[in-house]
Symmetry: C2
Subunit: 330 residues, 2 copies
DNA sequence: CAGAATACGTGAAACGATTCACGAAACGAT
DNA sequence: ATCGTTTCGTGAATCGTTTCACGTATTCTG
């Protein structure tokens, strides 16, 4: 009687199946239930097209099947790519993803975490920049690219290996002297290891190099690299033949500037970037680059986040990078 | 006594303030409450750092402050841009955004909607392709780029005006004969109006033109345009001097192909795209293009979705486009 | 075959909010 | 001073789950 056209509840299922609500709940949550009862309940669920109400579930239970993802934005290709693969990985496991775009604003990052906590989400995945985030110890958290604390797993590509790989490629391509341009950061983040890897690779291969760092925020005054580059060009002849850029985005800006100076890429100068994101959703890379395994990173984040045994969670997971040819090397 | 280190509930607030829980609830929800009571409650809330539990709220109340966004993906720049601005617009209004990436898969799109409905979300914003989505009439829905039904508002840029603007620009730039390349779609979607606008503009300006449509899925065999283009080149001389592409992504592919044929852009052929997305988060456009007002579209979607009076919801809202110079026109 | 151990279904309490009928207080009008 | 309104705080019922103590039925053991 009554609520005819309303959504079915667990009570409706129990009635139709002729069992108690407790039993229905157990079936839903995979607790041990007798064979015949299980069948009755499942049939009733199908018959009514019943779906659990996630708010009631979240209120009472521990699991909400919801994960919060904190990321600077989704319009920048790399972040968009990360967000996408996180979404796919979560959806695959029947989790919902609540997204917060924080544009590297430390306060917004903290707010997002606080909001997530009061909503009893099952976990948080964060690509953050706030150097002193406070994270309640009792909610699973996985960080991308930043070591926040020993108890919080950090997932990143193998940045050191990536830097080294770039150096080795330059050597292989016949370069004699290369520049490394990087947008700096005072953070204890993984991408900073690209420098050490690069230096290591150069030393290994006997490659001459110079590193120039900018300590500003991303996308800001990267044009300040221009005078530095110009100081390395005498009478139209550069004293270098390769440039390694800390991101593909940076590479594209620098490439534009270099071409304005009358130099050709890759004929005069070879360039390698980092990230390996494909613009416009294309299959091909926009430059020669060290490719981050974005999909693997996303999968790893979700696996770590959702695995129960906190014990075995490693503080740092580095996933392998690859080199991809994209027109800026010979 | 008891739950010392647990999160404060509305009962704790009521006790501390010396009022009933009903009163606290009213204060939270902005219902009329006496001045002095309001002050007491607000102080208690602050003192305890109380935040409402959104699961309890969602269970009982109508509002969940959650909106579901359905979008193909976030790695393609345009979609990433849309997702980002929707996120910002929702966050600004204190709404949480649950995102589903559906890759234009009709079943996934329907599943996402069903999932959203059973979760009692406050609304759904969808950029979908399924021609026969079933959407319960009692949940607010706003569609981007596709007219789903008269009762469901559709938000898009003014595609007709965009097509016309492109034609006018070509005329202004001195073109005599232009090609329009478009990835087709049998859907009743707004972007298809670019063609009519373009034709209108060409007619208006006395510009000679030809339209070529591909009816495949996005990013697929756009290379099939190549033979068509080649058929318009005799002895190295093209019989056209401009190409309008239905998206910037398409433009970049075609541009690459054209350059392979030994033609220069924009010297020999001028090109205009559509979307106006900036790659890598840069400020500059990657090609001359008709710019979609993505931020305005996102704001409009959210405004329409959250406005109470269903009556005044228009079936279609077109937002103005602009032209931006980006190196592929003279 | 009897008694103990095990397995498993039941139903009520609890999660933390909203809402509504009710009654007390305050105010105005006659 | 009295009665009728209006205003507004109260507290219990409710939303749809999960969980746990309990009891019944089944199986095991010697």
């Amino acid at each position: 009687m009554g609520k005819e056209n309303s959504k079915p509840t667990i009570v409706d299922v129990a009635n139709l199946a002729g069992v108690s609500v407790g039993t229905v709940s157990k079936v839903i949550n995979g607790k041990s239930v007798g064979e015949s009862y299980q069948k009755k309940v499942k049939n009733a669920i199908r018959a009514l097209n019943y779906k659990v109400n996630s708010y009631a579930q979240g209120l009472k239970a521990s699991k909400t099947y919801t994960v919060v993802v904190i990321i600077p934005n989704t319009y920048h290709s790399f972040f968009g790519d990360v967000a996408h693969h996180l979404n796919v990985a979560l959806t695959k496991r029947n989790y919902k993803m609540i997204m917060f775009c924080t544009e590297q604003n430390p306060d917004l990052e903290q707010d997002s975490i606080d909001l997530a906590l009061q909503n009893k989400v099952d976990g948080i995945i964060g690509l953050t920049y706030n150097p002193n985030l406070v994270i309640s110890e009792n909610v699973p958290f996985v960080s991308i690219d930043r070591a926040i604390s020993p108890s919080i797993p950090c997932v990143a590509c193998d940045n050191f290996a990536g830097g080294q790989l770039a150096a080795e490629k330059f050597a292989e391509l016949g370069c004699k002297r290369v520049l490394y341009l990087r947008k700096g950061s005072d953070l204890n983040n993984e991408p900073n290891k690209r420098k050490a890897g690069f230096e290591n690779g150069c030393a290994l291969k006997g490659l001459d190099y110079e590193v120039k760092m900018l300590s500003d925020e991303m996308g800001d005054s990267v044009y300040d690299f221009v005078p530095f580059i110009k100081s390395h060009i005498k009478k139209g002849k550069p004293d270098f033949d390769g440039i390694f850029c800390s991101t593909d985005s940076l590479l594209h800006i620098i490439k534009g500037e270099i071409e304005k100076m009358g130099l050709r890429v890759p004929e005069d100068i070879q360039m390698i970037g980092f990230d390996g994101v494909r613009e416009h959703g294309f299959l091909e890379y926009t430059c020669s680059t060290i490719v981050q395994p974005v999909e693997a990173i996303a999968e790893m984040c979700v696996d770590l986040l959702l695995s129960d045994n906190m014990k075995t969670k490693p503080p740092l997971v580095c996933l392998p990078v690859t080199f991809a040819e994209g027109g800026t090397t010979r």
